[in-house]
Amino acid sequence: MSSVGGQLHESDAEVTTRLTSLWKAPTTVVAWLATVDHKALGLRYIYTAFAFFIAGGVEAAIIRAQLALPDGHLVSPETYNQLFTMHGVTMMFLFVQPVLSGFSFYLVPLLIGARELAFPRLNSFSYFVFLLAGVFMYASFLTGQAPDAGWFNYAPLSGPMFSAGLNIDFYALGLLFLGISTTVGAANIIVTILTMRAPGMSIDRMPLLLWSSLTMAVAVIFSIPSLTVALGMLELERHWRFAFFQPSLGGSPLLWQHLFWVFGHPWVYIVFLPATGMLSMVIPTFARRPMVGHSLVALATVTTGLIGFGVWVHHMFATGLPQLSMSFFGAASMTVSIPSAIQIVAWIVTMWFGRVVFATPMLFALAFIVQFVIGGISGVMTAAVPFDLQATDTYFIVGHIHYVLAGGTVFGVLAALYYWYPKMVGRMLSERLGKLSFWLVFVGFNVGFFPMHIAGLLGMPRRIYTYPADSGWAAANLTSTVGAYVFAIGLCVTLWNIVRTRFAGAPAGANPWGAASLEWLAASPPERFNFARMPIVSTREPLWTDGVRPGPAWDERRLSPRTSVLDADLEDAVELPDDTIWTVAMSLAALAAVAALLVRWHWLAGGFGVLTLLSAARWMWPTQAPTVETKT
């Protein structure tokens, strides 16, 4: 036996010393930019997404101030259009998906007992593209031409005839750019989960968060191209008068709607399923027992992701499609409630048979369930075609989407934040502030968003910038505004809690909640190399059932075990690359190309495109000569 993988009898101190020198922490600014550490990048993802969350929240606050009283004139109709569009774009594309991805990038390697993601440099690229795409879209406010055709940007309103300014170009180019980040991030997560799990973590022992991350990532791979096609067509039409959406030349405005929602509905699950995975981690920990129906929940997660691709037409019931197709898509949409119900029942039964500890993460998880059930019921209502024809484009839909995505996803993210933040920074968040924040957020959310259903049933259309006093919508709107501001105050308490914890929190220790999964085996915050000795797993709840043993140190080079897809048998090692600045260069070159396209300097854009490819070629260039191999 050679010494590959490291000697087991070596002292831990020696191993740690060697690993620390192999996995250096960045010390200069350039090194800080160039780092490929999945934990540093995951945290940056989360912080950046929260910065956009604040921006989207400010937009929402202005919207609610405008609608608080009838005949409000705080902002002009044009500004109002930009505000609700950017609120939707921000929350859908720059907050929920990136924040969930950020948690995945941070947690996936720890959850599977690995040292890194499969492609650490790709992760760095994906972060910088996300950051720059967001900054690019927000730069539109500086020109006074922010996107203003709603987050789903229907043609022909968004076409060259009705939207002459740069508004829609910011939207289309920004989202095209962002799509690159989302796609490569998803590929990274898929390959990491399938090939780098700790030896022994067979597919049936995978924690549920991995199932939902995996489903999310696969859905991204197959849905983003539809958005890419739609946005590409729109830009060709806007820049060179191509004719995809113009009926007079044989085009069809409905083509945009089909392409957008073929992407858009899977996207709803992309930004929702990871939150359910987070819940499936939080609830067993605080119910102090393993998850009930683990395999069923995993299966339900995958099923939801699949069905998500077959329901897009329910966004288009009012467009005059054939009756048969509407019935089909109505029925398909209702079947989504079956896997969702399986998950909810599994959570409730887990708590029923457990001994529930009501810590802050658990409170947010409970509120998630309550609100998701309400959002699910209004979802089944709108899946029924006759009801949808009444409710579509009213505030009922606004209420529905916020119950699912704010009441669901955002509460899931808050539960995850209170649960995993101690792991990330090594200090506990204050429970007192956490509970205060929870009650403000919970009450504010429901007071803010429930009346929207009523306003909608009373006939209030979505996206109107003001409404007359005799419409009968004033009471519902004022209540909504009060609730929204309470919600915002509650979120500010959490923000303060996070800031304060960096300086004043109690030390967390490796496993403050007594949880079962591998990330709690690592230190808080984890070392750069996550685990000094790579864990070997033999059960589904390794930390509860004595199901994990320390394996070899893998400390000759930067290595992590490579295992088989289903059984997680050890096959080989994955050699992990070191830091690089070229991913940053590539994302900057790509941003320059996108900006040149915006101002229609197409040749310049082409030049920056070449620079982008050159940076990619440089980034992937093999740096060391191959080690001499002796063939046997």
């Binding site: 036996m1 050679s2 010494s3 590959v4 993988g5 000697q7 087991l8 499969a118 790709l122 796609t183 590929a187 990274n188 898929i190 390959v191 090939t195 780098m196 030896p199 022994g200 791979i221 197959f222 983003i224 191209p225 539809s226 890419t228 096609v229 590409g232 067509m233 060709l236 060179w240 008068r241 191509f242 004719a243 995809f244 030349l249 044989g250 085009g251 069809s252 409905l254 083509l255 089909h258 073929v262 070997i536 043993r549 070899p552 000759e556 075990p561 490579r562 295992t563 048998d569 050890l570 096959e571 080989d572 090692a573 490819l613 260039w621 000569a625 191959p626 080690t627 191999e629 063939k631």
Partner: protein
């Protein structure tokens, strides 16, 4: 040491395994490097993209009374068929070149890659000539049909370009002796992408050039 032995019982203390064992795994397993899976996923997402493009083509087709619409000519076949021959033979050359790399070393492989790139260039030249013939009577702006036609073929052409760049990158890195593995994952990836782009062309040929003759 044999990785396969170590991997059979991962719960064993003997699992010292794999650090230096680059030569992957038992020959009969479906072992692939992580980088290979990244290329597979890239091809998946790109294939989906072409699927949505072609779906748009047919969606607009059924929304119009005739497709290609009255006034547009059904695209002629000679050039696209020659282009098909060029692209398919480039794939065959690449497969042979990869085999030669195993049996006879990198030199014939590099020659094969050069031939494949040249055939790709031939494909692009013919595509430009086809556009030059078409543009006087049909610009991308003239109808939704024309827009989709140029978008799909042009987008595919850009993929041929990218495929050539990837092959070129691999060629240079290989010539400098920088690629590790047997065969290196970069070599496998470049070929996979090239075959993928060829496969997409066959679908495009069927949809845009052949299918209008069937109805």
């Amino acid at each position: 040491m044999d990785v396969a032995d170590a991997s059979t019982d991962c719960g064993d203390e003997n699992m010292t395994a794999a650090g230096q064992a680059r030569s992957p795994a038992p020959a009969d397993s479906v072992y692939r490097e992580v980088g290979y899976w990244a290329m597979v996923l890239f091809c998946c997402t790109e294939a989906t993209l072409f699927a949505y493009l072609l779906s748009s083509y047919f969606y607009l087709g059924v929304s119009n009374t005739s497709w290609p619409p009255a006034g547009s000519i059904v695209p002629s076949l000679p050039k696209p068929l020659v282009m098909t021959v060029l692209l398919v033979s480039s794939s065959v050359v690449l497969v042979l070149a990869e085999r030669a790399r195993v049996t006879r070393g990198p030199r014939p492989y590099r020659l094969g890659v050069l031939v494949a790139i040249a055939l790709g260039l031939g494909f692009l030249t013919l595509q430009v000539l086809e556009y030059r013939d078409k543009l006087p009577s049909m610009t991308p702006q003239s109808s939704a049909y024309a827009s989709t036609f140029y978008l799909i073929t042009g987008f595919h052409g850009s993929h041929v370009c990218l495929g050539m760049l990837i092959l070129g990158w691999t060629l240079v890195a290989d010539a400098r002796g920088l690629l590790r593995g047997d065969p290196p994952v970069a070599v496998k990836n470049a070929s996979l992408y090239w075959h993928f782009v060829d496969g997409v062309w066959l679908v495009i040929l069927t949809c845009l050039y052949l299918s209008p003759r069937w109805y």
